[in-house]
């Protein structure tokens, strides 16, 4: 399956509610995540997606 721009956009969209609710979920386990931690995690996710898109995305050489 090709890693298209559309799929990347939809993945980014779905990552936002997960990131926002991360603090609540961590709270259930008595872990107090500060906002900045959530921002960093989301940023890392976006960076990972960016790299994957570069490797396997539309227009890349490698077979996906």
């Amino acid at each position: 399956m090709k890693f298209t721009k559309a799929r990347a956009l939809v993945l980014i969209a779905f990552s936002v509610p997960l990131a926002i609710e991360l603090r609540t979920v961590a709270g259930f386990f008595n872990v107090e995540l500060p906002l900045i931690a959530v921002a960093v995690i989301e940023f890392l996710f976006l960076a990972l997606l960016f790299v994957l898109y570069g490797l396997y995305g539309e227009g890349s050489e490698s077979p996906a």
Binding site: M1, A13, R23, G27, L35
Partner: protein, 589 residues
């Protein structure tokens, strides 16, 4: 065989119907643009990020926002969708062009009058104001123009329904014994529900609010106008939702590359909504002291039953999407999701809208529970909830659907699919920020409908975040949403200005996997279902209304309100009925 455009495009086959749809969409989109702008102003104002209006004008904005988006945008758009769906599925034009234009004209005139009355509040010295919010019950009072416009608008929707029933009758004359085509079935059941429920608001506006705003009567019974409003105020949410369901059931499977899972199940769902959506309005009044707890309990029970058709919908729609994905080569338990046509903004927008609706359904169950409702009543949680339902499940489905419908009525190709895709994604992300923070703020006790909530010095547990963080989220979300609307309107405008295309869009809708043949014919007996719906309404509302009129000092209020109990309502009915009976006996004797 080569097909010419005339075989395909709705606009060539039904040019007059296409013109009506274009007109209703135009009004809807103008309302969307203005309403979204007001939404942005509010979101920035109440979070103290940017203040361009006086706080005293906040209610004027909020009324404009609620009326233009929740009443004008949604209903004009759905009238267009229904007009399209009836002509398409019966395969015949409307009976009278003049009649169709008459309802469009009446609804539009009513909208203009109401909007003028609202916006008049921004002009000092005009002496006109209608800051009554989109729920417009007493004791807030508006300029008579507001109610008169509203009445015209509602009568316009009644005529629109008559238009579709006339088409159906004419079709029936040539097709006796056939099953009602699915889309027409959906339109007709929705309109019956609308007729049953708008009686409440019509009585309230014509007999109480208009005479009261004109000074013809001294006072009204506020609880009575509230109850009549909510008698209509819950079914209106299904009036918004049914066109979205119509698109999810009949269009979304096609966009996903598959077919609707089950036609009979879709019919059952629409009938359940017809039966259950009116006798539940009291669930908006859990905190009203003038209504006995027992009636609230009945409303809550009916509300929980309403979950059934929504869960049936979730099942059918997801099953149809999965079928589509597997047709496209999707495999695995979850990997098939990747095989869906995410590039298509019409598909992606509707799918995201459906996903958000699930979240809205969960927060709705909190609202519906009599006891936990107290936790969130009148807090920002409530706008958080309905921006997921009407504000996304409905509004985003309508915008996404436009990417597929507008080309059919203009005969031009969509201007830009990538911009469309970006637009629906922006709506989703913006709404995640705004609605999530609204829910959290509500749990923290921040009220809705307030220009200046004062909570600077509060700190909450980290899982909720600080008030500052919540405010930033709401302002950020509101800004993304507004930009999304701008992109949408821009894309639609350029689409309608584009060149004629031979094949603007693939408009064919495939047959369902399981067709109507196997389903009981009784499903199509609309008269019987209307009767049952009316009966349920009478059962649910007679006693509460009797109690409200008796305890609230009569039809026109004025007396001192008395705390309500079930037995007081019963007493009142017994006394009224027996005295009427005695009078009758006296006349006869």
């Amino acid at each position: 065989m080569a097909t010419t455009r005339s075989d395909r495009a709705f606009v060539d086959k039904f040019p007059h119907e296409a013109a009506i749809v274009k007109a209703t969409f135009l009004v809807a989109f103008v309302a969307l643009g203005i309403g979204a702008f007001f939404g942005l102003i509010q979101a920035l104002h109440r979070t103290n990020v940017l203040r361009v209006i006086e706080s005293a004008d906040y209610y004027t904005m909020l009324t404009g926002h609620g009326v233009l988006l929740a009443i004008v945008f949604t209903i004009f758009f759905l009238c267009g969708v229904f007009h399209w769906a009836v002509a398409r599925s019966l395969n015949r034009p409307a009976e009278s062009r003049l009649f169709s234009w008459a309802w469009v004209g009446l609804m539009t005139t009513g909208t203009v009058l109401t909007t003028v009355a609202i916006l008049g509040g921004l002009v000092p010295n005009l002496g006109m104001s209608a800051d009554v919010l989109f729920t417009f019950y007493a004791p807030l009072q508006a300029h008579p123009l507001f109610y008169i416009g509203l009445a015209m608008f509602i009568v316009g929707t009644w005529l629109a329904g008559a238009d579709w029933f006339l088409s159906y009758r004419a079709w029936r004359a040539n097709n006796s014994g056939e099953r009602i085509p699915l889309q027409t079935f959906m339109v007709l059941t929705t309109m019956i529900m609308w007729y049953v429920s708008t009686i409440g608001v019509a009585v309230s506006v014509v007999f109480f609010l208009i005479p009261w705003s004109l000074g013809l009567i001294e006072s009204v019974n506020p609880l009575l106008t509230r109850t009549l409003f909510w008698y209509f105020g819950h079914p209106i949410v299904y009036f918004w939702l049914m066109p979205a369901y119509l698109m999810w059931y009949t269009v979304l499977p096609k966009l996903a590359g598959g077919r609707l899972f089950s036609d009979p199940l879709a019919r059952v769902v629409f009938l359940l909504f017809l039966l259950l959506s009116t006798p539940v309005g009291i669930h908006h009044q859990y905190l009203d002291p003038g209504i006995a707890e027992g009636f609230k309990f009945i409303a809550m029970t009916n509300t929980m039953f309403l979950l059934l058709p929504s869960l049936l919908t979730a099942f059918t729609v997801v099953a149809s999407m999965e079928h589509g994905a597997r047709q496209r080569g999707g495999k695995g338990y979850v990997r098939w999701l990747g095989a869906l046509p995410w590039r298509d903004p019409a598909f992606t927008g509707m799918a995201l809208a459906g996903a958000m609706f699930a979240a809205g359904g969960f927060s709705g169950m909190i609202n519906a529970g009599m006891n936990i409702n107290y936790l969130i009543h009148n807090t920002l949680w409530v706008p958080g909830h309905f921006h997921l339902t009407v504000g996304t499940a409905v509004a985003l489905t309508m915008m996404a659907g436009s990417y597929w419908l507008v080309p059919q009525v203009t005969g031009t190709k969509l201007y830009s699919r990538p911009i469309g895709l970006l637009q629906v994604i922006m709506w989703f992300v913006g709404m995640v920020f705004m609605s999530n923070a609204m829910h959290r703020a509500g749990l923290a006790g921040i009220p809705r409908r307030t220009a200046e909530p004062q909570y600077q010095n509060f700190e909450f547990l980290t899982p909720i975040g600080s008030i500052f963080e919540l405010r930033v989220q709401i302002a950020l979300g509101g800004t993304l949403l507004f930009l999304s609307v701008v992109l949408f309107l821009f894309n639609i405008l350029l689409t309608s200005l584009g060149d004629e295309s031979d094949r603007p869009v693939d408009a064919a809708l495939p047959e369902p996997l399981s067709g109507p043949e196997g389903s009981p014919r009784i499903l199509d007996n609309l008269a019987m279902w209307t009767g049952i719906a009316a009966l349920l309404v009478i059962l649910a509302y007679t006693l509460p209304l009797a109690g409200i009129i008796q305890n609230g000092g009569g039809l026109f209020g004025g007396g001192l309100p008395v705390p309500a109990t079930l037995s007081a309502g019963l007493d009142f009915v017994v006394v009224t009925v027996s005295s009427a009976f005695n009078t009758l006996l006296g006349v006869i004797a």
